[in-house]
Amino acid sequence: MSTMTSKIEQICARYDHDRARLMDIVREVQEAFDHVPREAFGLIAEHAGTHRVEVESVVSFYSFLSDKKQGDVVIRLCDDIIDRFQGGDEVGETLCKALNINFDETTADGNITLEKTACIGMSDQAPAMMVNDTVITNLTPEKIPAIIEQLKANPDPQTLITEVGDGNNADPLVQAMVKNNICEAGPVILSDYRKDAGLRKTLTMTPEEVIEDVKTSGLRGRGGAGFLTGLKWALTRSSPGTDKYVLCNADEGEPGTFKDRVLLTERADLVLEGMTIAAYAIGAETGIIYLRAEYAYLRAFLEDKMNQRRAANLLGNNILGKEGFNFDVRIQMGAGAYVCGEETSLISSCEGTRGDPTDRTPFPVVKGYMVSPTAVNNVESYCCAARIADMGPGWFSSIGTGKSTGTKLLSVCGDCARPGIYEVPFGTRLSDILERAGADDVACVCVGGPSGQMVGPAQFGLGISYEELSTGGSMMVFSNQRDILEVTEAFMEFFVDESCGYCVPCRVGNVLLKNRLERVRKGEGSQGDLDYLQRLGESVKYTSRCGLGQTSPNPVLSTLKNFRPVYNALVKDNGSGMNKSFNIMKAVEEASAIAGRRSEIFHA
């Protein structure tokens, strides 16, 4: 038996040959062989009880999985627009030079692979990159040669860490140079709190009373969609089914967001406490934290937290002596796919398939993970729930506005003096936040990330809330030095890369939007192209199947609305009556080449 065969058998056996754990299986195969070899697809399928094409389907979906041999060391440079504006492109050029390769290539000795990746959640300390699971922040081109020398001498990326960050980033199980950058701690989540007091109170109540409290608090989902958490729990509880599940969405992929990174680092216990309260409320015994691959450096730390809670009877059987209340949590690692932050995609991924979203009738609260009632909530939502359980719904709803209660964690980044985490009561005006973050030259703020809205000074007086400026946490600041349409185009590139391709409008429409925007930016567009962008954007928004497609045209549509003069200047009619995108010299080039002579009429 070859080593590959026996190794793959071992890995599959460790996951009980369970098809639903295919994500974990292929991740481990990749780790063992620096890729998932195509020759192994059939073998994995055989030992995981599925088909070869299903394995290929999964491997080809996630950007951190590859069927091509990679180096022992894979460098993934964050290609977010924030990183680019902080010098990411220059860092990239230096990397290519130092390694003597281009992106998506491996060094001649086969040791180091270089890739670009979408936002890795480090926009407050950009430019940043991942070296395998290790995160390196605040890069400059000058730092690169030494990093590469070090990696050539010792391929263990942890040896690059000379100084660890604050708080739990210094924990022996984390050892990351990441900084928390907590700029403002609000009353709900980042101030001191009584550990597990909420859970203890919860266990003296009936599940119905717990749900009622969450309803009364007005808590809405912190991922951005804003669904009422209490209602979600009530629906999950009342849906028929013996097995129910509590899922924590820690797939923080929205570019510019990093608040869940900080919560998982500094409030891991509060997250787990909130999940346990949810489990009690809906009647679940199993929980899953879906952790994005970019945050793999937190995995051991989180596993340890879970072990500590098991030892303290805060997880496991008869929790805190409550007879019959059993609940435990596992971590499901992602593998690089923004769409998996969409709850039905997240569930697909947890079930070991590609992260295609599924139809929302039935909803996950009725048929979710393993076709059972499932409550999927954001990391921050669980933190809020635990605090509501301790401090009471009245306390919580007294903070914020009528329809948006509590506080919101904002990840502020970009052109400001103090990027970082701001926990503010809902209703806080955008202008106040900009002032506190030291952003005094602001042309545009992207509120809610690419899927949100790009707003200009006219909107800075609006408040952060579900009814005015809604955001899952991302807040990117762009100064007057920035080209707003460069940002817009980068966001469209992001959606083109991250669309799962399941439905037509999102798969094709985003490519068409990006291409036409490119034309306009080159100064080859006309007023008609702006109408084209508007109409096409509306169709994609209106007809796409999931939240990704329904929000993907937002960068184009919100800039057309809020920054129209920028577009108008680019499509100004030059009076020639000609279509500016048509280049006659280029059009006759091929014919001239075939004829072997230049055109008599059109030549330089």
């Binding site: 088909h51 080809s60 796919a337 991250e498 439905c503 409008p505 798969r507 068409l512």
Partner: protein
């Protein structure tokens, strides 16, 4: 029957049964909602979005949305017709569709839909992607140039043939239909008698040597527009 309910499509009241999708109820009532990925023998997946309707103010795919008592559905509004046309155009430009050379011409649902919508040329620029042709199977050919990723073949193989010949691979614009073989379709257990061989709405899955048994001019949609069979139910 106790599960009989009433719904409205474009203001017209029709009978429906609980458990039906909007599309099934509309079909029975003789109202055609355009579609491509949906097929009566397969579970609906809502991937093409051509059947987008408005239900109580919200866009929904009629093929997957179940009916409920008193539902008000908009189907043929100018806005919806324009969105659908845009989606059909997108399918034309994302692939390489050359109807005049295609043996599916006249039997092709994409082509027929385009005619029904009065499309003579797509409004978007052709993307001219490079796609493979897989002719390794003795009886069946796969021309990915014409694939619209409706996944009918994926479902038919699983649901009707009890096999698993096809699955989606890749993502985004690079998404394509993969096959359950080491290299190509010839390595799979696909048979020409499989239901999956007959289910493709376009000219991607083609049976070899029978392409022109029915001459052009005498094919399904040469005779009447797509949807006529449904609209004829009640006439």
């Amino acid at each position: 029957m106790s599960d009989a309910i009433k719904i409205k499509i474009d203001g017209k009241e029709i009978e429906a049964r609980l458990g039906q999708t909007i599309m099934q109820a509309a079909d029975e009532a003789g109202i055609y909602i355009p579609r491509l990925c949906a097929h009566p023998d397969l579970k609906p997946i809502g991937s093409c979005r051509v059947c987008t309707v408005v239900v109580d103010g919200r866009a929904q795919a009629a093929c997957v949305k179940p009916v409920m008592e008193g539902m008000e559905i908009m189907n043929e509004t100018p806005e919806l017709l324009q969105h659908r046309r845009n989606i059909i155009d997108m399918m034309f430009v994302e692939g390489n569709h050359f109807c005049m050379f295609c043996e599916k011409s006249g039997n092709c649902e994409l082509q027929a839909l385009a005619y029904r919508f009065g499309i003579t040329a797509p409004q978007y620029p052709y993307q001219f992607p490079e796609k493979d042709v897989d002719a390794t199977h003795p009886d069946i050919m796969l021309d990915h140039n014409r694939c619209i990723m409706c996944a009918r073949c994926v479902r038919a193989s699983q649901e009707l043939d009890g096999k698993n010949v096809f699955q989606s691979i890749g993502r985004g614009f690079e998404r394509k239909i993969g096959v359950d073989g080491e290299r190509a379709l010839g390595d799979t257990d696909m048979a020409v008698t499989d239901k999956a061989a007959d289910i493709c709405p376009v000219g991607c899955i083609i049976k070899k040597r029978v392409g022109f048994e029915v001459p052009v001019g005498k094919r399904i949609y040469d005779k009447e527009p797509i949807g006529s069979d449904i609209e004829g139910v009640k006439s």
